[in-house]
């Protein structure tokens, strides 16, 4: 079984080093790949000094393009599982074994680390919390089942999902659309409890203006993906 830890990062020199060290403390023998989205700070050097391999994008692509680059490389290198951990320190690497265990046990294509399943470490602002409630309600009929944390980026995928995402992955604000892409192919996902912590350094890429644009973009992306549906899950 080949597992890769994928850390997308953009200007995260203040946090990415400690994230890598925490990951290596939890699973010492598993390779860690930082996908650097053309950072302008020292993210690449910090990541290399902390023992990670770095896939350095020559041009800023945004989160979706950055994650997809990592998925493409992992697929080409024949990895069986990839678990994505954000480079800002919000995801607790101690939850990685639970995600891996669920991927192997359930045989599903994707496992989401959900901050709402055990109620520990919830760090959402009012607008984000409101958005999550809205997207939960919107996704319920599309997915045919509830999803507690549709905006979580703490996800593990198996090789089948890796093959799909390396070809087709939403490029901006990818988490919610990725669920619909999975459903389009009639793939399965499960959620496991995970802890969410405050970001360690840097700033979120979702500014006040972008937080207004975010739901519009995601709604449109979801709508387009629904139009591409090949058939409902039996």
């Amino acid at each position: 079984m080949k597992l890769l830890i994928l850390i997308p990062a953009y200007n995260e020199e203040g946090a990415v080093g400690s994230v890598i060290k925490e990951v290596r403390a939890v699973i010492p023998d598993v390779p860690v790949l930082v996908v650097d989205d053309c950072s302008t700070d020292g993210t690449v050097n910090v990541a290399r000094e902390s023992g990670a391999k770095v896939l350095a994008l020559p041009y800023h692509l945004g989160l979706g393009g950055c994650v997809q680059a990592g998925y493409r490389l992992a697929f080409e290198l024949d990895y069986d599982y990839v678990i994505r951990v954000d480079g800002d320190g919000q995801h607790d690497p101690r939850d990685i074994p639970a995600i891996l265990e669920a991927l192997e046990r359930e045989g599903c294509e994707m496992v989401i680390g959900s901050r709402f399943l055990n109620g520990s470490g919830v760090h959402s602002g009012f607008l984000r919390a409101l958005g999550i409630v809205f997207f939960r309600a919107m996704l319920r009929p599309i997915l045919g089942r509830p999803v507690r944390d549709p905006t979580s980026g703490f996800v593990g995928v198996n090789r089948t999902a890796l093959a799909l995402f390396s070809r087709s992955f939403p490029l901006e604000y990818p988490e919610i659309e990725a669920l619909v892409v999975l459903q389009r192919k009639r793939f399965r996902f499960v959620e496991v409890p995970s802890r969410m912590r405050p970001r360690r350094a840097g700033r979120t890429t979702i500014t006040a203006l972008k937080s207004l644009y975010y739901p519009v973009h995601v709604l449109l992306g979801v709508f387009v993906n629904v139009l591409k549906f090949e058939g409902r899950r039996k």
Binding site: L55, L61, R72
Partner: protein, 112 residues
């Protein structure tokens, strides 16, 4: 409108000559300029068109037609830009992956 069309066609041709616009992307603008030129000189068509869309003044109808033509051109360019962005993303990812694999190969064959 006729003068505007001629100025636009002249600007586009000058830009193509200086290689600021590629020939394939100049076609839409030149076609739009020519369409506007023809429409602006064809009074009978303007009056018929104004009546058809329920506008009293043929000049206003002509401006609306001009706006519609530019919308079509902009739509075509949105498609071109989307395609270019997709190609750019794929290329960027591909270059990064090749560079990663090349570096890994270099590390493997470094003399010890």
């Amino acid at each position: 409108m006729a003068v505007f069309s001629l100025v636009m066609a002249g600007l586009v041709l000058a830009s193509v000559r200086r290689a600021h616009i590629r020939v394939e992307y100049s076609v839409s603008w030149l076609a739009a300029a020519m369409a506007l030129l023809v429409l602006s000189r064809w009074r009978g068509f303007q009056e018929w068109f104004a009546r058809s869309i329920g506008v009293g003044d043929p000049t206003v109808a002509l401006l609306m037609a001009g706006g519609a033509v530019f919308l079509v051109v902009l739509y075509r360019f949105s498609m071109v830009m989307s395609h270019l962005k997709d190609a750019n993303i794929a290329l960027t990812q591909h270059v990064a992956i090749l560079e990663f694999r090349l570096t890994s190969l270099d590390e493997k064959i470094q003399p010890r």
